[in-house]
Symmetry: C2
Subunit: 146 residues, 2 copies
């Protein structure tokens, strides 16, 4: 017998550590696809384990599900992605990580000279008002560090 190509939702859940309900949710959101048995049960590809793992890692990096969906959309639908497919997506990921590290490093540098010196309350503070446009229009705390 050939190695089973399809796995149940429960198997996908236990292999990735996410709840069955979360997997259904991801599918609903378009991050996963599945086939159905004649009895209407989902069947996933083994390679979806990797796909879910990727979702988890990307979430860790702070990506929203919608952004993750965009990344995953570059993978071939329906067939098992090749290592090369994953490598490409992985490069994007590394770039995201790089820029997050850069941002954090810069923030840390500013923090040293800013909260430390007590200038945090001044409008000219670089850390929270980098472009001198506070009190701008629009709701939400969007004026900071963008």
């Amino acid at each position: 017998m050939t190695a089973e190509t399809f796995i149940t939702i429960g198997k996908l859940a236990s292999r990735t550590g996410v709840a069955v309900s979360a997997i259904r949710f991801y599918e609903e959101k378009g991050l996963l696809q599945s086939l159905r048995t004649s009895g209407n049960q989902r069947r996933f590809l083994r390679s979806d384990i990797r796909r879910v793992s990727f979702i988890l890692i990307a979430q860790r990096l702070g990506l929203a599900l919608s952004e993750i969906e965009a990344e995953l959309a570059t993978l071939p639908e329906g067939r098992t992605p090749s290592p090369r497919d994953w490598q490409k997506i992985s490069r994007n990921m590394r770039d995201q990580i790089d820029s997050r590290i850069t941002l954090l490093t810069r923030t840390r540098a500013k923090l040293e000279g800013c909260i430390g010196c007590g200038c945090l309350s001044l409008q000219k503070c670089q850390l929270y008002n980098p472009n001198d446009k506070l009190g701008a229009a629009g709701p939400g705390p969007r004026a900071v560090l963008d």
Copy 2:
């Protein structure tokens, strides 16, 4: 006339770039305190501008409001915090940033050797299953990269 010690909610909002509704919300959550006029309007300390700025910066770093509240709780209530107070909190902050950078750096390193090589779907993958305890109890995708 002495410089005004107290500012209105609108002033605090415009000086920090956050919405008035958000400031009320922060107060409700215990991140800010205010006095009231005889007519029941809020009056904040000027130093609350700094406090709100801190909230915004901390949010940027990914802290939840509840965590930020914990940080802020180490500041003196009711009186204007000294530069030294802020320096202390700023050190904590820097430590948090440091550990986030470390985590990202490690994740990047693993990503190189993991998604890149295609092992992401294997249970032994370090990246998504560092301690070999997948399928653990409890809801949510908590088994990954903790």
